[in-house]
Amino acid sequence: MNQAQNPFSLSLRRIWALSHNTFLELVRLKVFYFLLLFAFLIIGSSLFTVQFSFQNPLQVLKDVGLGAMSIFSWLLGLLCTANLLPKDMEDRTLYTILAKPVSRFEYLLGKLYGVFLLLGLSVLLMSLLFAGVLAIREQQEIAELARNLSPENLPAAVAEIRAATFQMNLLPGIALILLKAMLCSTLTLLLSTLASSSVFTVLTSVVVYLIGHVQGIAREAWLAGGQASPLLKVLVAGMALAFPDLQLFNVVDEIAVGTALPALLFWQVAGFGGMYILVYFLLAQLVFSTREL
């Protein structure tokens, strides 16, 4: 049992027990009700967009769905993660768990995996619902066209509708939405190991999320040089160095209008996100391993 001395001691069974328990916790706390909001939003806008004549209603529906998936998965990850550690500490369940032969590394990893499981399942459910609603609307639109258009014009119009519905090429884009949510969850976990209240964790995480989406602009301005005041330069440089560029994960909008995402680029972005998750997690472990309980 020499490996137990190492702070990264790993037992997959224990990690799985912890993840499964975290997942179960979140499920039994009824966080999935949150996804009902997504369902209402999608179905509601599906009915609402029928009246749009100026813009392709299916395109609007698709953009609503993809945008909502991005926000919902992020919010779900954030809210679930922010409370994990504080709650266990407050209830002293953490003592009971860590008094078992469980390393803090296993505990943290188990918790995070539990959230990842939940996020994965949520994104899957949202995608299925989203694809389902779009498919129904697609059939309605095609039926409508078949009534109104002459047969020779029909194929082109149908093709246009098909292009605006759920296409398989969206999947890599959705995978990156999930990855972004996972990254933000890991960041939230890191913040919660530092924080003494979950309000701080949530607020800071939201701020990082917002800054993360403009970080790219700041970074490019900083890298390009230019004639800003020294104070502003330091500020912008700090922003570029400290915050993740979350905009890099938002590629699904372009995919939705037909831009092809090269496989290499997808894996680069995915690897980049994975690296962020790893770094944030290791930092969280560093903080947590020395934290007094």
């Binding site: 027990a17 328990n21 009971t96 078992k100 032969p101």
Partner: protein, 282 residues
């Protein structure tokens, strides 16, 4: 197999005070040894450092200096907890789990799995008398039930050392009695127990030895009889004694040169001793 269950050497723990240079000394130069098979009671007022000591023994808190080990393994190592069962004070488990699920979860953390885990969990639910409540969520458990499921959880991994923090705090007398019996069963099976409690009567009944802490220091330690017994006095507890019997006992005592110092209902001597020791300090 080490014959020493817990070994604490020169243990110090200081907590930093936020935004100040000073520190709070929670434990100072504590050394103690609990041999395997003994039931050891750690007593002390609130804030005396006994909980911190317990947490250090369990590896939950890092010592500032000194060492603690459990069955010869340094407490900072994960495997030192392989033979330990812990029941925290006022345990809260996951409310959304049922009694059985709670045991299955903690069992997995102890490295158990499959049907042995299931059998062991059922068996422990029976032991702590929660068979009926096995499939109810902990959210609906009473305090006494939570304490009992906590004890079951602590016993899951067949521990050789049980660490119990206020095991009967807030539990009604009947529940407390049941828990006390469980601890005594453990003692009979040779499990070492480290017990923190305020309930001195209970400690006196269960423990072989006690240590008294205040402000981070161990003030007194020893067998209860040695600490609280008066060498030249003996207490006789009688049941259904008639006044005539008492009268003749008094006469016999006087005849043999002994003296009846007091005559009253049985009570705890330990409490007096405890208060004496701690009052002396302040």
């Amino acid at each position: 197999m080490s014959a020493t269950a817990i070994l604490i050497k020169d243990l110090c723990k200081e907590f930093p005070v936020p935004f100040r240079r000073e520190t709070v000394k929670a434990v100072q130069n504590l050394s103690l040894e609990v041999p395997a098979g003994e039931v050891y009671g750690l007593l002390g007022p609130n804030g005396s450092g006994k909980s911190t000591t317990m947490k250090i023994v369990l590896g939950l808190v890092r010592p500032t200096s000194g060492t603690t080990s459990v069955f010869g393994v340094d407490s900072r190592r994960v495997e030192s907890r392989e033979n330990v069962g812990f029941l925290p004070e006022n345990p809260y488990f996951y409310k959304y789990l049922t009694g059985l699920e709670t045991l299955l979860f903690f069992g997995k953390l102890c490295g158990l799995a499959g049907s042995p885990l299931r059998e062991r969990s059922r068996e422990l639910l029976h032991t702590v008398g929660l068979e009926e409540a096995a499939d109810r969520r902990l959210g609906g458990y009473s305090k006494g039930m939570l304490q009992r499921i906590g004890l079951a959880q602590a016993l899951l991994g067949e521990p050789r050392l049980l660490v119990l923090d206020e095991p009967t705090a807030g539990v009604d007398p009947a529940g407390a009695h049941a828990i006390r019996d469980l601890i005594l069963q453990c003692k009979q099976r040779g499990i070492t127990v480290l017990l923190c409690s305020h309930l001195l009567g209970q400690v006196q009944e269960i423990c072989d030895r006690i240590g008294i802490m205040d402000r981070g220091e161990l003030l007194a330690e020893g067998r209860i009889d040695d600490l609280a017994g008066k060498k030249n006095q003996i207490e006789l507890v009688l049941e259904n004694a008639t006044p005539a019997l008492l009268e003749s006992l008094g006469a016999m005592s006087r005849a043999s040169g002994a003296q009846v110092v007091s005559q009253r209902g049985a009570r705890t001597d330990l409490e007096k001793f405890f208060l004496d020791v701690t009052r002396h300090r302040s």
